[in-house]
Structure formats: structure tokens, C-alpha cells
Symmetry: C2
Subunit: 103 residues, 2 copies
DNA sequence: TTGATAGGCAAGTCACCACTTGCCTATCGT
DNA sequence: ACGATAGGCAAGTGGTGACTTGCCTATCAA
């Protein structure tokens, strides 16, 4: 749940990926690889980025859609609106009060 | 920076500590240890919690004040309001500090 | 069909992180 | 003074996560 979201956000490279998807949504794996290189100087292997995208997808922050041999990645900011509100006091009426970890 | 905030939030135990400080602010190390045991079933050593608090403090999420042999820990939610907004777009006016009329 | 493009799977390496153990210092109560 | 409480420092260990390497599948264009 929110556990996976925090783990996904813990890595700087994954946050850059979210930045790139915020800038342009629906990119493929190779497009993201290229932008990480040219705009951030990150020389990562394709598999590294692929694994990062898998983490982001399992956290619900990225959704994917296949078209032929292409796989487009779309940003989903919905999980981001819940996670911080639990410490920000009763001003943000996002999530009522779920202590996370309850099955 | 925000990097340290995300790293601090990555650990579940540290998030529980923030929860306990949200519930009651200004607790000492031993109080937090006790609450983690009795309310979450976490059997951690005192040093483990101390190190967690150090991480939270270096991230700016917890401020400390000494009084005699006691050291009280206070929650600071200010860093939490900046970090998520970069992906949520300019729609959510979560941070009132940002100038409102910036296009 | 052939070659090029886009992506997936699996094992392996390496560094960092959470946690422990052991010992030390400082403050308070009696 | 003494012991008890509250906290700190440093080295060591185990496990997880980030990244790589190598090989494999699927789709499209020529």
C-alpha cells in the first residue's frame, strides 16, 4: 500500500523518472533512458530503468499500456495525495486515520 | 534537502515514530521506545530508535531540545509540504508559502 | 525471411542500511 | 557519596536493494 509508495520514492533515480513522466507523459522505456542520460547525466543500463519502472508500477505510481512492440508508461499521482496527510494534521481531510500495516 | 526527507520516510519504523510524535509531541527516547513496543509490537533496541531519530532529525522532520538529562523530540512537518507538490502539478495549493499568482 | 527495434527474465555482484552489542558520559534522587 | 536513569559513540553483522551481464521473445520494416 503506502509502504510501497514510500519505498518507490526512496530512490533518487525513480524520482527523476517521475519528473520525466511529469514533463511528458506516456513515454517508452528507451525514451526514459535517453532523457535520464541527456537531461540528468545518468548512465544507466536499460534493465536498471526497467526495474525502476517495475517498482513504480507495483507502487501504483505508474500505469502501463502496450501498443504493438511499444509499452507506454503513464504517471499516476493518486497515491501521492494520501501518504503525507497523516502527519499534516486535520487540515488535510485526505485519509481519515489508517495506521498502515493493518491487514 | 528533499533527498534526506525521502530517505527518512522510506523506513516503516521511522514512519511509526512520526505517527507517535503526531499523537503526542515532545517525547523522549525512552517514551518513544515504549510506545513502539506497546502500540506496535516492535521490539527494538534503544540504539535503533536513537539512530532512527538521528535520521529524522538530519532530515529536518524532528527537532530536539535538551532539558537536564532529558531530550525531547518535536515533530516538524514543514519539509513534508514541499516534497510531493512537484508531481502534483500547480493544482493542489498544499503549501501556502508559495506565491499564489505565479503562472 | 532477415535484420533491427523494443522489451523481458534470471542469476550474480556490491554497497548500503537497519539493528545489535559493548562500553562510556551526564544528570537526578536518596 | 552512591546507584539509577537518560542518552551517546563505535565497531560489527545480516539482509535488502540497485545495478550489471547474458540470453531470450516479440513486433515491425525492408
Amino acid at each position: 500500500m503506502a509502504d510501497d509508495v514510500f519505498k518507490a520514492l526512496a530512490d533518487p533515480t525513480r524520482r527523476r523518472i517521475l519528473d520525466e513522466l511529469t514533463d511528458r507523459n506516456g513515454q517508452t522505456l528507451f525514451e526514459i533512458c535517453g532523457r535520464l542520460v541527456t537531461r540528468h547525466g545518468l548512465g544507466l543500463s536499460r534493465q536498471a530503468v526497467s526495474q525502476h519502472l517495475a517498482v513504480l508500477e507495483s507502487a501504483g505510481l505508474v500505469s502501463t499500456r502496450r501498443e504493438g512492440r511499444y509499452k507506454f508508461h503513464d504517471l499516476d499521482t493518486e497515491p501521492l495525495e494520501h501518504i503525507v496527510g497523516r502527519w499534516l494534521g486535520p487540515k488535510t481531510p485526505r485519509t481519515p486515520k489508517t495506521p498502515e500495516g493493518t491487514p
